[in-house]
């Protein structure tokens, strides 16, 4: 199975072309450039370097969030359109799971975290069990304080991973003490091949229903819902 895996959830962009678990080509860029400019040229280059054409692809795996809304949408839109137009399988995997999958050979709780601003984070909890990466704390948008309080109750070693993990280390160690570990800098970067690995065995989804895992309503909708009832509304989007 030839897989194209895409990850554009945060500053880093990563693309991989794989034949099952064999990585044929992978590129991770971690400079502040726009994913929109870089993604398609990178896909093109990596397919060529892999000796494959776009017609050889069988499956697209997209890291579908959480993360930067605009960033996630680039890979989601590119991935779902490619899968739709090529008539091939589409799979979405959590961008937090992709980060967690960088940490191997441990029984600790792996906690990928992304800065969601104003002392909030996108985070989840993962653990390797019988060779499978299992989600033990659902991906969520939460305050850093709440996350750390919940993790403290586990009384287990915790490994924090993700490019934003180091910036929270003061709070992390203050709450968790020596139960906490911060992953090494290279493991903080998402690798699309990890997305490919996680998405290889997952049941494909419908391209038409595929949307990012935002984990958060927009501010406008949250405020609107405080004073309105969403039931029985006219369809928000209509063909005219």
């Amino acid at each position: 199975m030839n897989i194209l895996a895409l990850e554009t959830s945060n500053q880093a962009m990563s693309v991989a072309v794989m034949a099952d678990l064999e990585v044929l080509a992978e590129m991770t860029l971690n400079r502040k450039r726009t994913h929109s400019e870089q993604l398609m040229p990178t896909i093109d280059t990596l397919l060529q370097q892999s000796g494959l054409t776009v017609e050889d692809l069988n499956r697209i795996v997209v890291a579908d969030g959480p993360g930067s809304y605009t960033g996630v949408r680039i890979a989601v839109t590119t991935g779902k359109t490619l899968a739709y137009t090529l008539g091939i399988d589409l799979v979405g995997v959590s961008s937090l799971a992709v980060l967690a999958a960088n940490i191997r050979d441990t029984s600790a709780v792996i906690v990928p975290v992304m800065d969601a601003r104003r002392q909030n984070v996108f985070a989840g909890g993962y653990q390797w069990q019988a060779g499978q990466l299992i989600n033990v704390l659902a991906d969520q948008h939460t305050s850093l304080t709440q996350l750390l309080t919940a993790l403290k109750l586990l009384q287990q070693p915790v490994i924090f991973v993700g490019p934003d993990a180091p910036k929270f280390q003061q709070d992390i160690f203050a709450t968790l003490g020596n139960l906490a570990h911060i992953a090494d800098p290279i493991s903080q970067l998402p690798q699309a091949s990890r997305a490919g690995e996680l998405g290889m065995t997952v049941q494909p989804v419908s391209v038409f229903d595929f949307v990012p895992r935002y984990l958060r309503l927009t501010e406008a909708e949250t405020n609107w819902l405080k004073t309105h009832d969403e039931r029985g509304h006219r369809p928000y989007v209509e063909k005219v």
């Binding site: 398609m40 093109d44 776009v54 359109t81 090529l86 928000y236």
Partner: protein, 340 residues
């Protein structure tokens, strides 16, 4: 190139997701438009992040519907075209990303289109365009006079200094309690009232082709607030009629001035506000009186709002000129024609 030139065209610059198949630049085989108006009405205007989310939900559904309705396959297509600006960056990126994916997957050339060029070329579905022409482009985001010496060449000769005309309609609509988007309802109310308030006609005396609507908007809001304070109730119909008369006067006056300066064969009325009856009638009358040789071309209402077909029509010209983009095409939210 096959005899049949077919362009798959994308438009997602604001709150409509649209994909069309256009044949030879002048025939619409399909033009699917998914509008988000019901969603943004909740907030009284377009919320960019909400718009982007709807675009992602819709994009492949709309592509699929456009291809099926046109009854064409990828092998039939000549090129893929997409609006890459101006507009909301998050919205633009959905169309741009999807168009690039289709072009890449099927080895098709990719044509970047300026949204404003699309609005003007919507007129091509009415009749062939004859150059030089002048376009009055009026929408929620833009109010421009564009001179076109020849096909695919655009020069801004007049621009708004502040609000776009459509934006002024929406802001005034809020004061009148008219739901977003307010243009259609204000147009309707205006036809039931009289111009009794004599709102200011901004920039009318100045020797340029630029517009300004913020003074008018403020005068309107002040009038309503003042009446509220002294407990007086004003006729909504007369308020709408007076506001619309001021907007139309300014648009027609500057357009007339532009037609004096730039002898053209056609005047194209383009953009969402081109659906406004008051504006259409005023331009028709002025042209009949003052410029009987200049032809007014107004696209049908369905094509004045944002849609993929207009992008396909503009892309037909760009294809002739072999103006293509590569895989690195990005959204350019502030894209603009050059000023003359």
């Amino acid at each position: 190139m096959s005899e049949r030139e077919l362009i798959l065209a994308f438009e997602s610059s604001c709150d409509e997701t649209s994909v069309a198949v256009v044949e030879n630049g002048d025939t619409i085989l399909s033009n699917i438009i998914a509008t988000q108006i019901n969603s943004h009405q909740r907030f009284g205007g377009v919320v960019p992040e909400v718009a982007s989310r709807h675009h992602v939900e819709q994009i492949t559904l709309v592509i699929d519907a456009a291809l099926k309705e046109a009854d064409v396959t990828y092998d039939d297509l000549t090129a893929v075209a997409v609006t890459y600006g101006p507009g909301l960056v998050g919205s633009l990126l959905i169309g741009v990303s999807a168009a690039k994916a289709i072009a890449f997957a099927h080895h098709l050339p990719l044509i970047p289109v300026n949204h404003m060029a699309g609005h003007i070329y919507a007129a091509r579905f009415v009749k062939p365009l004859v150059y030089p022409l002048l376009a009055l482009l009026v929408s929620g985001g833009h109010t421009e006079l564009v001179y076109m010496p020849s096909a695919g060449h655009f020069e801004i000769v007049g621009d708004t200094r502040d609000d776009a005309a459509g934006e002024a309609y929406d802001k005034v609509g809020r004061v009148l309690g008219v739901p977003y988007p307010a243009g259609k309802e204000i147009d309707r109310l205006a036809h039931l009232g009289q111009d009794t308030f004599n709102f200011p006609r901004a920039m009318d005396k100045e020797d340029n082709l630029d517009f300004s609507f913020s003074g008018l908007k403020s005068a309107f809001i002040n009038t309503v607030h003042h009446a509220d304070q002294i407990g007086e109730s004003l006729s909504r119909e007369d308020l709408a009629a007076s506001f619309q008369a001021a907007v139309v006067d300014v648009l027609v006056h500057k357009t007339t001035k532009a037609l004096d300066e730039f002898p053209v064969k056609q005047l194209v009325l383009a953009g969402g506000v081109a659906a406004n009856q008051g504006l259409r009638e005023a331009l028709q009358n002025t042209l009949a009186d003052a410029f009987p040789d200049i032809e007014l071309v107004v696209p049908p209402v369905r094509l004045t709002g944002d849609n993929g077909a207009m992008v396909g029509a503009a892309a037909h010209i760009e294809l002739e000129k072999q103006h293509f983009a590569d895989e690195s095409l990005n959204a350019v939210p502030g894209l603009s024609f050059a000023h003359a």
